[in-house]
């Protein structure tokens, strides 16, 4: 079969990323321009600044991508773009850019769900095997998804309130931990002990998650200590929070793994970069005799290669091919 080359565009948050991916698996070239240092100055991602920086960077990122690639832009078979979920302003920069390339070179335009991209990041260096259980963990999502084939999704459970990444970021803010909050809480937890009693979320047998109670618990604890003028051990608090947050994932994953035999478990989304979470999930998955796939760090954080990987089965099956009226969406589920 003829090789398929896809030019992929990702601008949903604070990385401007472009990639050319062959057959959904081989990354011919990729560029990731991160704005993280800029947003760090403001203590978090500022959507308007992100949109401005995407606009400033996008053609420059393309120029360096094309310098690295032995495939020319007119040789690609399709253009794929993240259309949701994410920051509207940023998504729109990528969408208009992708439409323009699709128009100039008369190539099909494929819309890709960013969260599905995170799952397909595991198809770049591994091979997705079905039935598969995907644990999607990010700043906006905590979802347990079953896949019985390419794009054959079944939502088993999701957070009823906050996403796990959101909980990490909010707790970081309460504890005065600088941006990026989540990764910094994980770092602090490495040198801490689980010494603070934090309530576990409601223990039911559904596959839904809850993080707002845990977050409030940390807020109250910090507040009470401050009122009493007592010092908090920040490492211990980070470790105590992380223990409960990750335990919620482990508990729900083990219910799902007991219900059905899966060939593979995938961790997807920004929070999958958390090493403690990875280790705990790995132990659990092994105890069920299944394998855990986690992308290399480069493909774990936002990147366009995963969008190219996720677009490949869509291209082959003629799905999600859209016209130039494509708009961005800020919130959608992995299974939408």
């Amino acid at each position: 079969m003829k090789d398929v080359y896809i030019l992929a565009v990702e601008t949903s948050c604070d990385e401007t990323s472009l990639a050319i991916v062959k057959n959904g698996k081989d990354v011919v070239a990729m560029e990731v321009y991160t704005q993280m240092d800029t947003h760090a100055l403001y203590g978090g991602v500022v959507p308007e600044i992100a949109s401005r920086m995407h606009t400033e960077a996008i053609t420059l990122v393309l120029e360096s991508l094309l310098k690295k690639s032995n495939i020319k832009i007119d040789q690609v078979d399709a253009v794929a773009v993240t259309y949701a979920p994410g920051l509207m302003g940023g998504l729109l920069v990528g969408i208009e850019f992708a439409k323009t390339i699709s128009y100039i070179y008369n190539k099909p335009l494929i819309k890709v769900n960013h969260m599905v991209g995170h799952i397909y990041a595991n198809n770049i260096e591994n091979q997705l095997e079905f039935p598969l259980l995907a644990m999607v963990v990010s700043g906006g999502h905590t979802e347990l998804v079953e896949m019985n084939g390419d794009y054959d999704f079944k939502l088993l459970g999701a957070t009823l309130d906050d996403a796990i990444g959101e909980a990490y970021d909010k707790v970081a803010r309460i504890m005065g931990v600088p941006y990026p909050g989540g990764p910094n809480v994980e770092k602090l937890a490495r040198d801490g002990n689980v010494s603070y009693q934090l309530a576990k979320p409601v223990n039911d047998n559904t596959l839904n998650f809850s993080y707002s109670g845990l977050k409030s618990n940390v807020i109250n604890l910090v507040h009470n200590y401050k009122q009493r003028g007592e010092e908090i051990n920040i490492n211990d608090l980070a470790a105590s929070f992380q223990y409960v947050a990750v335990d919620e994932i482990i508990r729900k994953l083990s219910i799902a793994l007991s219900n059905k035999k899966y060939k593979m478990v995938v961790l997807a989304g920004g929070v999958s970069a958390n090493q403690y979470l990875r280790n705990e999930v790995d132990k659990l998955v092994k105890s069920y005799g299944t394998i855990l796939a986690v992308p290399r760090m480069l493909y774990c954080t936002d990147n366009a290669a995963m969008i190219g990987a996720a677009a490949y089965p869509l291209f082959i099956n003629g799905k999600n091919i859209v016209d130039f009226s494509l708009n961005a969406k800020s919130h959608i589920s992995t299974t939408d």
């Binding site: 308007e48 949109s51 120029e63 729109l92 208009e96 439409k99 128009y103 100039i104």
Partner: protein
């Protein structure tokens, strides 16, 4: 010789196609805040219904604001991407330039563009150059000043005034932002 003007700085999406400096065709649509759904289909339409190819465009003009942040970015991203990939000379103009250049011979004085909660204003010389910078003012300040009234945009006059301008590097074509955003204050 074809030229294409792209303007998405306000509530409308505008594409004006020129042939030898004369307006050959135009698409000007109210977008109801859906620039993204309307801009590229309109570009596709204006090019195809005139039986030309985007590669036949010899120069691009793009409005870089000030105006709606999200709106102006749509046109800017489309324009800079075309200019870069097809190596087409690109020239930028502001939303105030559109007014100033709409007169056959430029009138010096103050010009204004309305924005949701206020006005962007700029003072121009009779040679069409901006004196100082574009500023943002509120209704109260606006009422104290007098401005040159431009009833309608005249695209052929606009063309005459941008004709002599130097093209810019497409990578450096970016919106201008007059109002400071909250986080930057």
């Amino acid at each position: 010789m074809y030229s294409l003007l792209i303007d998405t700085h306000d509530t409308k999406v505008s594409f004006v196609l020129y042939k030898n400096g004369l307006v050959k065709d135009q698409i000007i649509l109210e977008s109801n805040m859906k620039h993204s759904e309307i801009a590229m289909p309109s570009l596709d339409k204006i090019i195809s219904r005139n039986n030309i190819n985007i590669r036949d465009i010899n120069e691009l003009f793009v409005v870089i604001g000030p105006g709606s942040f999200t709106g102006v970015r749509i046109g800017v991203v489309i324009a800079k991407t075309i200019a870069y990939l097809l190596n087409i000379p690109i020239k930028t103009l502001t939303s105030l330039d559109l007014l100033v250049y709409s007169n056959q011979s430029i009138l010096s004085g103050l010009y204004s563009v309305i924005e949701k909660n206020g006005y962007f204003i700029g003072k121009y010389d009779s040679d069409g150059s901006l004196v100082n910078e574009i500023e943002y003012i509120n209704k109260e300040e606006f009422d104290k000043l007098s401005f040159i009234d431009v009833k309608d945009l005249n695209y052929e006059n606009i063309y005459k005034h941008i004709k002599g301008k130097e093209p810019v590097n497409p990578h450096l074509v970016n919106p201008i932002y007059v109002k400071q955003i909250e986080a930057l204050k």
